[in-house]
């Protein structure tokens, strides 16, 4: 370090050199090291847990998907299990929540409408519609629904697909994931995995 420079300039030059060193260590070497290990040892997870149908990637078991009918505002497609409402329409480039407050009139109206719509769509009384079916998730990409919501949809899916309800019920039961390690988080059903299995069923 040239000593003829004023102390303030020298301090800032030291700071800059320090920052550059750390940028190389923590900003380049570190993520490259982790990516190398991840790609070598845990390829599937590192690439986003992709799921395939007929040899073609159709999404990720971690990211919820839209199961609506083709066309704009065409509504949910009855032959699929439906995911939770999403603030971003299951677009992974626009993740996020509704951010509506706990007494927001907009939210209250939306919940009322969703409850009535889900009950009519699935042919069940409104009292059977669980909370996760009428509330938007935090990410807008929640792949999971509660087991209650999955079972609530069984009759409708079976009817539309001309399958025995008991068989669809068994399929759901096989896809209920219990809490991690038995006590972490909540029981859940991954809608992407469940619908893929449903497609295989016919």
């Amino acid at each position: 370090m040239p000593s003829h420079l004023p102390p303030a300039v020298r301090t800032h030059l030291t700071a800059l050199r320090m920052l550059l060193v750390f940028t190389v260590i923590t900003g380049i070497a570190y993520p490259l090291l982790v990516t190398g290990v991840a790609q070598a040892a845990f390829r599937h997870q590192a690439d986003g847990s992709p799921v395939e149908r007929g040899g073609r990637v159709v999404g990720s078991s971690l990211l919820g998907e839209d199961f609506t009918l083709p066309g704009k505002d065409a509504g949910p497609d009855p032959k699929w299990f439906q995911p939770r409402p999403s603030a971003g329409g299951y677009d992974p480039t626009a993740s996020g929540a509704s951010n509506l407050g706990p007494n927001s009139p907009v939210l209250i109206k939306a919940i009322k409408q969703r409850k009535a719509a889900v009950a009519a769509f699935d042919g069940v009384p409104e009292s059977r519609v669980p909370a996760d079916a009428v509330t938007a998730s935090g990410s807008g990409l929640d792949p999971d629904i509660s087991p209650a919501y999955a079972y609530e949809q069984v009759d409708r899916v079976a009817r539309v697909r001309h399958l025995p309800a008991a068989e669809v019920h068994r399929l759901v039961a096989g896809h209920v994931r219990s809490r991690s390690l038995g006590f972490l988080g909540e029981p859940r059903v991954d809608v992407v995995d469940l619908n893929l299995a449903l497609a295989r069923l016919g």
Partner: protein, 554 residues
Amino acid sequence: MNDTLAGWLQVLALIAVLAASYRPLGDYLAHLLTTGKHLRAERFVYRLAGVDGDADQKWSVYLRGVLAFSAVSVVFLYGFLRLQHHLMLSLGFPGIGPGQSFNTAASFVTNTNWQSYSGESAMGHLVQMSGLAVQNFVSAAVGIAVVATLIRGFTRNRTDRVGNFWVDLTRVVWRLLLPLCVVFAIVFVASGMVENFHAVHTVTTIAGQHQGITGGPVASQEAVKELGTNGGGFYNANSAHPFENPNPFTNLVEIYLMLVIGFSLPRTFGAMVGDHRQGYAIVAVMGLIWAASVALITVNELHSVSSSAGHLAGGMMEGKEQRFGIWGSALFAASTTLTSTGAVNSFHDSFSPGGGGMTIFNMMLGEIAPGGTGSGLYGILILAVVAVFVAGLMVGRTPEYLGKKLGGREMKFASLYILTTPAIVLIGAGVAMSLPGERASMLNSGPHGFSEVLYAFTSAANNNGSAFAGIGVNTDWYNTALGLAMLFGRFLPMIFVLALAGSLAHQQPVPVTAGTLPTHRPQFVGLLTGVVLIVVGLTYFPALALGPLAEGLH
């Protein structure tokens, strides 16, 4: 297993692993902050940067190092963000505008990680990992460096030297953060987190629609985001995004990482001052406040207290993910706002008035239970100084803490520290509410809208970074005002801490007598907890009454 039992076990498991980490991690930190030996790799860093690793600095020189390093970091990051479209791995995103670049640079350098941008639609991979994530490491290390000087102020006598900033910085990054991050990043990937360099790739979904999926070096950034109490998400939805937090196990690990350094630093403090009981007293205060906050948020959310939407839906699941549920979301919310993390796995804007109000109150406490890396401990030690002073006034004795007299000079620095953050929060929120255009940024109306503005300034000035995210803050006014709030809220308190450290180190210790207030007993734990709550309560009560309290009573 029923919900309540599982919820309790989840909390108790977290406490158990934190308790198990307290001694080894705290002692290790004390060792690396006091040893005279340099590693070969560290010597190499000093040579590259032109630093004398054996020099001991005055507090004012140390401070100049902190400020110079942070100033250079802001300028460097600002340029990086402005020019990202000229660099590789930009994913085709344009450079970030000047207002947002300033805001983001200030945000990451101050360990706030307030995000007025949406990660997946604005930032390329290079700027995330080599710009933003670098600050995740070094800003966390700066916090620990500053608290190290305050502890040295208590342990050193009749000296004007408080340590070497460049050495403290390097050691914390090299010996603490980096090794832990490598281990936990790999644990994260193994558990399902993403780590690649893919750009957006579009897939045709099961139902025949199109979905654009963004990859990225997420797990490596996630580890340091939590461990360094940073909180800046790779994606807009932060830790609610399944790629950033794929399952309840990673959720618990993320909560553990954001708490572990903060809760272990009191051990470091006790070890360095040569009396572990002092560390236990401090960690007891932190633990009490944390546990109370977790309980209050969980109860409010479980019972949808004062929330019409929650009662109607049958549960407070708006803005929450099914895999975490209410228990896992409340635990995360309390921990992220009581540290300076600000990551979210659920959206606080949609919490019940009591639950959301608690997240604001947590930050108003100054983030001391356990707080940000380093900043939490220096925050609570300043409050301990105030508590000792209050006790001294009661009995008419000159107060002393750990053998150091707390005279006029020391109390001035402590008082300035206490006053700085509330002044920034209340003035900032007040000005925003008086301007019609800034008021219009609120998504919700009435008291809840005011809570959004109050939350924003509380979060910025306390360097938290979480938000009642309905508020639209990507405007020049908010980018600038909140950027300044973050900078003043970070560096003014640091100046007072370093000045206090210098002043304490200068003193000759006074012997302990029968009249000395013991600071390791339950009595002091109660006194300090009381001081924390009263100081904050009196300062912020009127503002809280206009926001969450008015809403809850509605």
